[in-house]
Each structure stands twice: as structure tokens, then as C-alpha cells.
Amino acid sequence: MENNLTANAEAVSEGAVAGEAVLPQKKQKKPINQQKLQDNLWGWIFCIPLIVGTVWFVYICLIAAFLLSFTDYSMIGSLPMFEYLGEMGKHLAYNEDTGATDILWWYKQVFTETIKPVGTELNQMGMYLFNTVFYMIGIPIGMILAMFFAVCMTRDIPGANVFRVIYYFPCVASTVSIVYTFRLMFSNAGVINQLFGLQTAVDGEAFTWLQLSGNLPLTWNKLLGKDVTTQFMNEPFWCQGILSKAVIIIMSVWKGLGGTIILYIAGLSGVNAATKEAAQIDGANGWQIFWKVTMPDLYPTIFYNIVTAVIGGMQIYAEPVLLMDENYLTSGYVSLIWEYGLNGMNASPSTGAAYGMFLALIIFILTMFQFWLDSKNKD
């Protein structure tokens, strides 16, 4: 290979010399073309694995998932997926009541599926989406905490780098290990209840952070020790799972803090020192400098953080399911895809694909909305 290339390069340079001597105008183009050919050839060769991988494992799968959601694929008894999609016309989704072909059947199903935990029927997808969005409370909390710690760490003190490392430790740890540790720490007689004296907080019983059926019926009245006669305060449904959700939020803030801090430190070190100094000479105090000079410079970092946090937050799955098992009170939206699309032999990947397509749409719209807000902000 190498010899070949070297020979090629020599041939090129010889050609160039010869061309200049004999026919300067016509033959000058040839070496350049050969160089360009080399560039194009090697450019493609170097990135062909990545192109193949991305197209195969992302784009083809995306198209396949989109098509699957209009068919009636099942785990057992169906052909392998690509053959199945090849004769898709024969397998379109149909209305299970009337038997008529209805390619949007799964979409109608996923939007209208209901559950009946209490007296009234509730939209299932709505419940799971509510949980997912509820966990996003952790995003602003994490952002503010990370900003606070990042400002502390950029102060000129010895040993600031050590703190960066310590705060990043939770980010590299496995979610499974973290969840099992937190589950024990938040158990009834566990560390947290002991530390805050919560063993007798609810009617003489311990705070049951992680049991949906623990000291039931738990209501807001009981939890807050109040006696208000509204439905919201008295109905157990409105309070069930709230403590478990709090644990999940605490856990995700704790786990994600280090990464955000490092991004903020990177952003803070990029803030223009000259502007800061000028503001100081003009008599601005630290607080004013932070809001008027540092924050505008940090805006891109904050925006990037929010966008990635929202995209990641919509895909929350492992934490709630490992902590509480799959249930409508704590699980995120992605567990619907798993539960309906992939769990066991009776699962219907077509339903899962329909759920997945809707998730992709939500994330796309949220991201576009954020970019729209960003562009509006800049004007």
C-alpha cells in the first residue's frame, strides 16, 4: 500500500515537471486533478465505516420503525422484519373491532388507551407523559446548583481542580449501582429518615419514600399534617408516588451535577476578563458583574445545557423502573415503548413503534421550540 502511494506521488511530481517543460497550459491541470481524485477517494474511504454504521443502525431503523407503526407485526409468527416490510401491503394494521384496514390503528390505540386507578378513567399516555415532565423539575434545580458550585470553583483558590473531580464521580458511576444504593438510603429506617428524624413523621409512621402502598392512603393532608377539605388534599391519588418522584429527582440532580458544573467552568473561563475589569473600575459590585457581564457570555452554555437536558429528560427510563418497577405513577414515557413493544412474546412491536414515533415528534417539537425561543431572544 505504502509503496504504491509513494510511487503514485512520484509519478505525479514527474508529470508536473514534464508538463511544465513541454506543454505548460494544457497539461498543468492533470496533476491537480489527480490530487483531487486522491482526496476524494481517501476522504470517502476514511469515513465509509461511520457512514455505513450511522445509516444502518440509525436511519434505516428509523424508517423501519416508521413503517412498522403502520403494520401489524408480532414477536412470534411474523417474518423477519425486512422481509415483512417488503410485503407491507399485505400486513397493514387493521381495526380490531371491524376488521377493516386502518393504517393509523396503533396511533389511535396509543392515544386513547385508558387506565382506571381510581374512580375516573385516565389517559394512559397522559399519565406517563406527566411523570416524564414532572422529572424535569430537576433540570432548573440542577442548573442553579451547578452554576453556584461552578462560580465557587472558578474562584482563585488552591485545590479547585480536586473538587471538579469529586463532583464528577457520580457521573461515571453506573445507574444500576446508584439506584440500589439510594433505594437502601431512602428505605423506611434508612439513613435519610434517620438524619432528618422522619421515622415518625406521618401519623407516627416513617416516611415511606419508595413504597406506593406504604402507609396508605397517603394524602396531602397526611403528608403535610393539615386538615383541608378539598378533593386534592384528601384524594390519595394526587399524593401517591410523589415521594418516590422526589427521590428520583434528587438522584438525577445528584448524578448529573458534575457534568453541568464542568460545562459551566468551561463557559466561565471563556468570559471576557477585560470586560469584567472595566465593569469593576466603573464601580459595579460582584453581583452586578455576574448578572450583567458573566451571564450574557454564559448564555450559549446555558442554552446548550437546557436543550440536552430536555432531550435527555424526555428519554428517562432506567431510574424510575429500577427504583420502583414499572407503574403508571412513577415510570417515564419510554417504559410504554418497552412494555407494549418488546416485553415478552405477546408484545406488539408495531405499538411500540407508534409510541416511539410520537416520542420522536415530541422531542423534535420541543427542540425546535427552544431554538425558536433562542432566535427570538437574540433579536
Binding site: 509513494t6 506521488a9 476524494n40 440509525v58 473538587f163 413493544g341 412491536p349
Partner: protein, 349 residues
């Protein structure tokens, strides 16, 4: 600043202040804050601020470290005294001596009973209870295989693509780049049903190939970050090598790989940690009764099988420590490289 200017005039005016006001001013001045009566020193102010910042950061570090500390202590728990006051679950652990104070550590292996049971699989506390025939060493080997092979090969393919995007001029380069970059907009869970069916048809699922082969093709995010790094490298090196007659393959192996080694190492380490902790991949794709599951997945199954056994938590926590420890050590060794790469590329993971 403005306060100081005022203070310069203050002695001339000789204003009378109440003693309370005067004491308050003295109190503030001790912390370096200037007031109408006293002038604070800047040095003192900085010192007090530094101490405050240290206290805050140390408190935060405690919060960050304590769960790991507790995890380590709980992994040594003695499960023969469940429910008593020496049961680790009912106790705040500040120092491991508290747990060594238990006189009745049963078994021949002392503190390491849980680890021994997990690794050797004794007392119905090993992985074989979760998956018949599964041993600890098999799980560890799986996890190493899933996190070393795809990461080493994948980071090199990513680096080659990054080299192509950053340093070679070819037609359609930007179009291809943005086409690939757009793939990160596709959320993983959305396409996981189709991926599952595809891997099932290819028969890659239960033999674990699903966690190896897709990784060999590299990842666009890794390529993107290495490309950012390569942009900062002078092109003249490549031009010089070309003039000397080196081909692109030679340039890549001889110049790009060594020169971009910090970025490649950092990205490789980060993706190693990601693969090591990849619970979702194994959980979604590999059936729960297979021996090819990875460590986090096996831990989750172990937890399920131990959940009805009193004291079963201890062996699960021992497994959690084994799962966390290698990446923690790796991160501690390469923290400078990883953190500087994170700050350069602005990625979170």
C-alpha cells in the same frame, strides 16, 4: 469601590455614630466589608470569601461522596443481625469501624462474606440464582468484551472519519457531515423496537453481538469531538508529509493518531465508561435467561432474585461496588485528560 471613596472623606466630617452602629461597622470590618464607620481590608475580604467557598465546596463534596461511602460500608454488612441496632440499614455510617464493631461476623470470610458469596456463588447468593449457570467471571468477561472491543475499534473508525472531515477536501464533505450529525436528533428509544426486530432477524441478540458490532462502526459524536480537536492542529504537517510522498493512510497512522492521542484517549475512556454502564442495551436486547448479559443487567436480575431473601440487599450492594469501582479508578487515573477534554468539547458524557 464607591464606599471606599466615601470613607476617605469620613474622618474629616467627624460624624457621630451611635455605639451600636459603630460595633456593627467593626463587626463588618472584621470580615473585610467596608461601612461608614470602618474600612475593611481587601485581603481580609478575600480570605473570608475563600473560607466560605471552601466550606460550601467541602459540604458539597461530602454530599457527592457520601452515597459511595455508604455503599462501600453496606457491602461489608453482616446480614445475620437483620433488624437489630447493628444492622447497617438502620444506621448512619460515618466510619467503617462502626460496622467492624459487630462481634458476630459469621462465616470464614469475615467482612468479605458478601463479596465471596457473590463471586463464588455460595449460599444461594450468586448470579446463578438469577440466571441458571451464570458465574461472576462470565459476567465480568462479558462486560470487558462489550466495553473494550467496540470502544477500541470504534474510536479508531471515528478518528478516521474525523480526519476525513477535518483535513481532507472532498466533494460533498459538509453534506455528508451534517447528514451524519443529524442522526443524533433521532432518540434511541424511538427506534429501539425496529432495532430489536432487526437484530433478532440477524440473530445477533442472545449471543451478545448486538453490544459489539454496532459499536465497531464508530459514533458520530466521538467523530465530531475529535474533528473539533483536529481543527486546532496545523495543516502544514499534513502538507509537508504529502510533499514527502506519504499517502493519506500513512499520514493517518503516522501523524494523526499520535498527535490526536489526547482527544482519542479521552473519547475512548468516556465511551468505555458508557459501555461499561450500559444497562439499557443489554436489558432491551438480550433475553433475561441468557448468559451473555452484561454486569449492570446481571446486577438488576440478581436484585430481583434476592428481593425476597432477607438481607439479600448486601450481596447486591457488593455487586454494585464491583460495578462502580473500575470506572471510578479509571476516571481517577485519567481525570486530567478526561476533564480537559470535556471542557474543550463541551460535552457532558
Amino acid at each position: 469601590m464607591s464606599n471606599e471613596v466615601m470613607n476617605n472623606d469620613a474622618p474629616e466630617q467627624e460624624k457621630q455614630y451611635s455605639s451600636a452602629r459603630y460595633a456593627w461597622g467593626a463587626f463588618l470590618a472584621f470580615f473585610g466589608i467596608s461601612s461608614a464607620t470602618h474600612r475593611g481590608s481587601k485581603k481580609r475580604k478575600k480570605l473570608i470569601g475563600d473560607i466560605l467557598v471552601y466550606i460550601i465546596l467541602l459540604f458539597g463534596s461530602f454530599l457527592m461522596i457520601y452515597p459511595f461511602w455508604w455503599m462501600l460500608a453496606a457491602s461489608f454488612a453482616n446480614t445475620s443481625n437483620l433488624g437489630t441496632s447493628t444492622d447497617i440499614l438502620n444506621r448512619l455510617v460515618w466510619w467503617p469501624s462502626l460496622s467492624t464493631a459487630d462481634p458476630d461476623y459469621n462465616g470464614a470470610h469475615g467482612f468479605f462474606t458478601n463479596y465471596y458469596d457473590l463471586i463464588v456463588g455460595g449460599n444461594n447468593r450468586g448470579f446463578d440464582l438469577a440466571v441458571p449457570g451464570l458465574t461472576f467471571w462470565r459476567v465480568l468477561l462479558n462486560n470487558l468484551l462489550y466495553s473494550i472491543v467496540p470502544v477500541v475499534v470504534g474510536v479508531i473508525t471515528s478518528a478516521s472519519a474525523a480526519f476525513s472531515f477535518a483535513k481532507i477536501e472532498w466533494i460533498g464533505r459538509n453534506v455528508v457531515f451534517y447528514f451524519l450529525l443529524a442522526a443524533i436528533m433521532v432518540p434511541g428509544p424511538s427506534i429501539m423496537t425496529a432495532q430489536f426486530c432487526m437484530y433478532d432477524a440477524l440473530n445477533w441478540r442472545d449471543n451478545g453481538l448486538v453490544l459489539i458490532i454496532p459499536g465497531l462502526f464508530g459514533s458520530i459524536m466521538t467523530a465530531f469531538f475529535i474533528r473539533q480537536f483536529l481543527y486546532g492542529m496545523p495543516t502544514s504537517i499534513i502538507e509537508a508529509a504529502k510533499i514527502d510522498g506519504a499517502g493519506y493512510f500513512r499520514i493517518f497512522c503516522g501523524f494523526i493518531l499520535p498527535l490526536a492521542m489526547p482527544a482519542i484517549m479521552a473519547q475512548g475512556l468516556l465511551s468505555f465508561m458508557g459501555s461499561w454502564n450500559n444497562y439499557m442495551g443489554s436489558f432491551i436486547m438480550i433475553d433475561r435467561d441468557q448468559k451473555s448479559i452484561n454486569l449492570p443487567h446481571a446486577l438488576a436480575l440478581l436484585d430481583e432474585s434476592q428481593s425476597s431473601i432477607p438481607g439479600g440487599y448486601a450481596v447486591v450492594i457488593a455487586g454494585s461496588v464491583i460495578c462502580v469501582l473500575p470506572v471510578m479508578i479509571l476516571f481517577a487515573c485519567f481525570q486530567k485528560l478526561i476533564i480537559s477534554s470535556l471542557m474543550l468539547t463541551g460535552s457532558k458524557e
